[in-house]
């Protein structure tokens, strides 16, 4: 196979890659000009559908299909929200795109707005990205100056405003309806669906929420065609008519105990081992892998013997994880205790639960309390069972909560228990030799970690 040439990262690292001048010099906004000459919004939706592009925000939902749920007889306005909340631990590729090549994201945003007939697009940007804010706002200003944004884009009757809306340090704002509530000025409590945003979203109008990287992909699909996109990645399973495949280039992030943490671009389906060894230069300090989180903390753990898992939308599922998630791999070396991983994960989700659903609010906090107690050397084998019960009972999949945050909390617990049970049992026995077999109710420890 010929060496894959980066597409999404093609400009990153070049001088002034964030400026309009540099972007136009490499063909930037050509796709937009061509589209506005003679294409209709429906043409664009057809193109994106034909590419089988699946959203890069975590759930892998087919983008063209999502757009086609918008009502076609609605008087408007329609809104596009670009999700730049990027708060899933292990994930940072949106930051790189926004800092180094914001015009690529903007061109995708403008094209997507045209396709969805949106007249306003909001970029919901997490607060902790000040450099992204500066670069993105400067790029937006350049676009207004050049006629790519504003009234009558490039002299056509398509008009579009793009505004940046800053978040305030809450993970749940990345959930699409939490994002919408937050944008409306309220607490970011995710909404019960249906109605889905396409029907009733921001300001109760039809709304599409898409990830930053999804926007960048749209630009390249329009520019190079859906066949090009489908020539990259893992093909759909011919025996499963509902499998949309995993097509296109993907930004893989890798962090944790590796020699070269960073963001790397490869065709979807990159084996986890290649990401760790070839791209990230292997495990630090000459150590071995104990576990890898394949796609952001929510996705759970791959064990060391699962590193041949292809990182496409289906691979991690087959390996007993939640999914590809954000493709943010986190590598843990052989010396890192799984109880520490569990503690960190449970603390994160307990801190970020919005508190709206009882199973999530209570479950994440009980899980944290238990893991805290185990870590402190007062655990019992029974606690592992109780943890497993929490893992199995919270989330959209069992149907007890409104949003996917609870599923994200559950998978690290479930996978740690399924794949590292021996280590956890040993830990409990060694740290609590007198009490590990107790089955009496245990006294809760005072929470140490509330904000």
């Amino acid at each position: 196979m010929a060496e894959f040439e980066p597409v999404l990262l093609a400009n990153v690292g070049k001088d002034n890659s964030h400026t309009l001048k540099a972007y136009e010099a490499v063909g930037g906004y050509r796709a937009l000009r061509e589209t506005l000459k003679d294409k209709s919004p429906d043409d664009l939706i057809t193109t994106v559908r034909a590419s089988n592009l699946r959203g890069r925000g975590g759930a892998g939902f087919p983008t063209g299909l999502k757009w086609s749920f918008l009502p076609d007889d609605h008087p408007g306005p329609v809104y596009l929200c670009v999700n730049a909340d990027e708060s899933e631990p292990g994930t940072f590729c949106n930051r790189v795109l926004l800092e180094e090549d914001p015009h690529q994201v903007l061109e995708g945003t403008i094209l997507s707005s045209f396709a969805t007939r949106a007249s306003t697009a909001y970029v919901y940007l997490r607060y902790e990205y000040p450099k992204s804010l500066a670069r993105l706002q400067a790029a937006i200003d350049e676009c207004y100056g050049a006629g790519y944004l504003g009234k009558n884009v490039l002299g056509t009757d398509f008009s579009l405003d793009v505004y940046v809306h800053r978040g305030a340090a809450a993970y749940v704002c990345g959930e699409e309806t939490g994002l919408i509530e937050s944008l409306e000025g309220k607490r970011a409590w995710p909404r019960i669906k249906p109605p889905f945003p396409a029907v009733e979203g921001l300001f109760r109008k039809p709304t599409v929420v898409n990830n930053v990287e999804t926007m960048a992909c749209v630009k390249h699909i329009v520019d190079r065609g859906p066949e090009w996109f489908k020539s990259i990645g893992t093909p759909a399973d011919p025996h499963n008519p509902r499998d949309p495949g995993s097509y296109g280039p993907k930004l893989y992030q890798v962090s944790g105990h590796v020699n070269r943490p960073g963001v790397y671009e490869a065709p979807l389906g990159l084996p986890c081992r290649e990401l760790v060894d070839r791209f990230a230069g292997g495990v630090w300090k000459g150590r071995k892998v104990k576990a890898v989180v394949p796609g952001g903390l929510s996705t759970g753990l791959l064990a060391a013997d699962q590193l041949d898992t292809p990182l496409d939308f289906d691979g991690p599922v087959q390996a007993g994880c939640l999914g590809l998630g954000t493709a943010g791999a986190i590598v843990l070396d052989e010396t890192y205790p799984i109880i520490d991983f569990l503690y960190n994960s449970c603390r994160f989700f307990a801190h970020e639960s919005c508190g709206q659903c009882t199973p999530c609010r209570e479950g994440t906090h009980w899980a944290l309390s238990m893991v805290e107690r185990i870590k402190a050397g007062r655990g019992r084998l029974k606690d592992l069972e109780l943890l497993g019960e929490i893992g199995d009972s919270i989330g959209i999949i069992p149907g007890t909560t409104i949003c996917g945050l609870a599923d994200g909390a559950a998978w690290p617990i479930k996978t740690a228990l399924a794949k590292f049970r021996d280590e956890l049992e040993d830990y409990v026995k060694q740290t609590n030799p007198a009490g590990y077999a107790d089955i009496q109710p245990a006294i809760a420890m005072p929470a140490m970690t509330t904000h």
Partner: protein, 171 residues
């Protein structure tokens, strides 16, 4: 809103005309006033260092909301301070997995000891406010901290010392 007027009659307005204008800039960007709540809270905290109760009342008045609606949104985000202004630099030290696995939490503890405060607090000289952060989206630079708008990655005790000295030296 009679209750507010009572309150306001005993309290000087805290948001200057200038600040109110800075919030009004956001009006044309949204179809509702309520959507301006977050931009308004950010604007006030950036200028005053915090969002005291009186500012909440005045934001509500400007946005034609009940103060409780603004307060409700504010209190959801652990981000806005109400009791006293933040220090000159607000430091966020990441404690999430990729940073923690590379020593981030020890560095947070080091910074606590160095500054003599716990997360959520501000030094008495008003220079530093310290916070723990969940993933800053900078795991490629783990362990990472965000100080004001400056990202400091591959963090070490030496880098922390140098940073603290720099801020102290600036004043």
């Amino acid at each position: 809103m009679v209750a507010n007027q009572d309150w306001m009659s005993t309290t000087e307005p805290i948001l200057s005309d200038d600040l109110l204008d800075a919030i009004r800039v956001y009006f044309p960007k949204y179809p509702t006033r309520r959507a301006v709540v977050l931009p308004a809270l950010h604007t006030v905290q950036e200028r005053l260092g915090y969002v005291p109760a009186q500012a909440v009342v005045e934001i509500a008045e400007l946005l034609e909301l009940h103060p409780s609606e603004v307060q409700d949104t504010l209190s959801f985000y652990g981000f806005f301070k109400q009791d006293k202004p933040l220090g000159k630099v607000r430091i966020w030290v990441c404690r999430s997995i990729s940073c923690s696995a590379r020593g981030g939490e020890d560095l947070l503890e080091y910074l606590c000891e160095k500054l003599g405060i716990r997360p959520g607090e501000t030094t008495e000289d008003g220079l530093f406010s310290l916070e723990f952060a969940e993933c800053l989206g900078a795991c490629d630079f783990a362990p990472a901290m965000l100080a004001g708008s400056e990202l400091i990655g591959d963090l070490t005790r030496e880098k922390i010392d140098a940073f603290v000295d720099r801020v102290r030296g600036d004043t």
